[in-house]
Symmetry: C2
Subunit: 513 residues, 2 copies
């Protein structure tokens, strides 16, 4: 008895003891009755093409979602348009709760990444959803949809958008239905916002925010997008890294030269670029550009603790990705995404393989991707790269060098700065943050992984800038979902768990935020 | 008078005083009568397509050349076939001189580089020869062929093969005609050998040499191919560098990874390759691979003197190629081609420009071109590059790495060694070498540039290996001839001078070789 108590205390202190609330069990029970019906609805939803190029398809998706919302008695359902009427609209809906003074708004997006149908596995097509008895990578087979409506939670649906992010739409709306039909009462007004241009870069989101500022007023945006932690545990993510690009081109002779007649006399731009890129990181993989890490806002005690508790997936991922050593020796993935990064996306000079010829190429180019963390300013970070290139003896220009420049400077780099927005991180010490964490914890017996910011980038700054809003991301999809690629899929258990997570968030207790 | 004598002595000592012999003046006078007729013949010759893919065209060229030879009373004219009868044959002919104990054989090739007709300037086509009143780069215009048969020597003919190397065939056969018709008597038997596969890599030349060893017996091969020195001066070239390739691929994660989620944790192969390539040369452009220069046979006193006398074209070429600093600071082009070189032909990882995406690429590749000088063994030189890669911590394999290898080694390089033959250099101190130099000098008032080896590579080792032959290259074309590219051309003066050069070589005095 005493030992059990000690174990309990140990688990409680180490913070990994959660327990599924009776509320969650009721939501689950409702879902079990509805599975078959929801699956039919979801299959219909996934059958409607949702790629950026197909405006008609996107509109059909919007129609379908509005029907889903109305069926669930969501009020004031409407399309929100940017000034450009040809852009895919966002969809809005709300549930005003008498007496509620606070509002939660749930975000997901219904558009998907472009598809290359030929790349999909045999029997699979992006917009003909199929059921598989597991993961394709583990040799699962396509099976018929069950006549008895009984689904094994390890089964998966394969289709574009199955995870990213129609799963978000489905989890949010099914959660709302469950909450209402199970008889719980809400403490918050609930709003819904489903974007139609996320995969196209959210280019009109700022306009929609400006056009509907008061409609979109809320105390918290819950972003339901992306995968849970690679360990399979649920995750709450408080921010995202920013992103910016630097394109570099360096120059050799003005025409491709015979490498025998002129090699090692004429400057070789491929070697110049190799030396320049090599100078940007030391032999331990650390960025060697002056000041690159100077502006980083240190993690708070709470954030440090959260990072230290992120389960390591390093060995699992190395196994999956077939390499044995991380770029910065000894630094795990959880820590690596908390610092600014510099990564080469691409590099090219002359030809390789069958395209190689005996030349000194005329130029060499590279594309660098900079990720930013709180404290970094993307323009300042890009400027540091430019300064570094100058410090290596380069004359830097942002246009194609002209002959007059080539007659003066031995080393010329054309540098183009593009993209760019800063990181965003919501404080984990806000009362609302703790409420979100508690809500997600109430749905699982397992650890909930708290991530100060994801490694990837999202334009969360738009929410801050145009709506002064607080955002917290709570994903639902499995990490091995192939989002953005062929064979995208959702494991049903992730969808079911996601519904429970979203329901718990809708039912958060009132109190200070 | 005394001053003139001093000037004469000074010029004689400094070796740049040549004088056109009366013999040359007679040859010139004959050429002046024949210009119009020869031009008609040359235009016909250039109108016959001569690219590797067009076997019928190559055969028509061979037919035409055989007619040219028979018209000039060359004897025993025949096609020399390799074992593979579909390959373009070489053409042989001979002039046996009563009493002559020594034989000179003149080499040129009649096949040309592939053509991309769309790349040719307006009004020009590869196999429709046109006359221009100068160089296209200097805005010359297309002009009609002159009705009066008078050609300005600065005019140029534009057509594929005009320089490389139908000019060689034309110069050799017109020189022979001039020699005979002007009444000179020959001291050597003269043989002719015109290859049809040079631009296709001379893949059957070894077979032809083996099949016709006794027919091709000679004391000297005179290779009439390539351009004269960039200064415009005539050149005698005693060898060529060897060539070999090293292809390198290094590996990152097994699939392209999101650079936000995994950047700076997963190893980036583009950075790995950049660091590897950067390690191969120091900051002064010198190859930093251990032993790379160890085997070089030092230049002889004669060769050193020749190199020191090569006119510098560095400033002219930098101006033309639009760069201001050579790769090895302070080392001119003439010296740079006397040492082994390492040059990056191409380098590639992920995509750049419109093809860039936010990924960590899975691999990065480079193609290295090694040029070799006498003393180098191409396999040993390739091995030094492999050893260098190993010394940078790489596991080197020559096949695509398998999963088991990826689980052991952090840095894997697939290295493919290809191509490869050694340099060749004929001693400048051979009596025959001096005879060749003297003969060329007798045709010009200007310096003759003596080059121990050219920077580029030719399979001259085939002549040594299969025929035990001595080779010396005496080019005729202008250096700005666009050979291998669009708008190939020959300046008429170079063709006329070339005829005088070839005639002088045919008329070399007898004596020890």
């Amino acid at each position: 008895m005493k030992r059990q108590l000690l174990l309990f205390l140990f688990l409680a202190i180490s913070g990994i003891l959660n327990s599924q609330s009776s509320q969650t069990l009721k939501i689950r029970s409702y879902r079990e009755q509805k599975e078959s019906q929801w699956m039919q609805e979801y299959i219909q939803f996934l059958s409607i093409p949702n790629i950026a190029a197909d405006t008609a398809g996107l509109k059909k998706n919007a129609d379908f979602i509005m029907q889903m919302m109305r069926k669930r008695n969501v009020q004031n359902v409407q399309l929100l348009f940017p000034s450009t009427k040809t852009a895919a609209p966002s969809i809005y809906g709300e549930v005003i709760v008498p007496g509620a003074t606070r509002t939660l708004i749930f975000y997901a997006h219904y558009d998907g990444q472009p598809v290359d149908t030929l790349q999909w596995a045999k029997g699979l097509k992006p917009f003909t959803p199929k059921l598989l008895n597991g993961s394709l990578e583990k040799n699962a087979a396509i099976i018929p949809f069950p006549a008895n409506g009984k689904y094994d939670p390890q089964w998966r649906i394969y289709a574009r958008g199955a995870s990213d992010d129609k799963a978000g739409v489905m989890a949010i709306l099914s959660a709302y239905e469950s909450v209402i039909q199970t008889g719980f009462s809400l403490n918050y007004n609930i709003k819904f916002f489903f974007e139609g241009e996320e995969e196209a870069g959210s280019t009109h989101l700022n306009e929609i925010f400006q056009n509907y500022t008061s409609l979109l007023k809320s105390d918290l945006w819950i972003i339901c997008d992306g995968p849970v932690h690679q360990s399979g545990k649920k995750a709450v993510i408080f921010g995202a890294r920013g992103d910016a690009h630097v394109d570099i081109t360096v120059y050799g002779p003005s025409r491709p030269l015979h490498s025998g007649h002129y090699g090692n006399w004429a400057p070789n731009p491929a070697l110049m670029l190799a030396k320049l890129l090599a100078s940007m990181k030391d032999d331990n993989g650390r960025v060697a550009i002056r000041g690159f890490n100077d502006d980083v806002t240190p993690l708070t005690t709470l954030e440090k603790k959260a990072v230290s508790e992120i389960p390591s997936v390093d060995e699992q991922m190395k196994e999956e990705l077939k390499f044995v050593k991380e770029e910065i020796p000894g630094m795990g993935l959880s820590d690596a995404i908390m610092i600014p990064s510099l990564n080469i996306n691409g590099m090219q000079s002359g030809g390789v393989g069958a395209k190689a010829s005996n030349v000194i190429p005329t130029m060499a180019s590279a594309v660098l991707d900079l990720r930013l963390v709180p404290g970094n300013d993307y323009k300042r970070q890009q400027q540091r790269v430019v300064d570094h290139i100058r410090a290596q003896g380069y004359y830097v220009t942002d246009t194609e060098p002209i002959e007059a420049e080539k007659k003066i400077f031995a080393k010329i780099a054309k540098v183009t700065l593009s993209g760019g927005y800063n990181a965003q991180r919501t404080s984990m010490s806000l009362p609302i943050a703790q409420k979100v964490i508690d809500a997600v914890k109430s749905t699982t017996n397992d650890q909930v992984v708290l991530i100060p910011n994801m490694g990837g980038s999202l334009p969360l700054y738009l929410f801050e800038k145009y709506l002064k809003a607080t955002t917290i991301t709570v994903p639902v999809a499995n990490h091995d979902n192939n989002q953005h690629a062929e064979n995208e899929n959702i494991r049903l258990l992730n969808l079911w768990n996601g519904i429970e997570t979203m329901a718990a968030l809708m039912l958060m207790p009132p109190g200070p935020l």
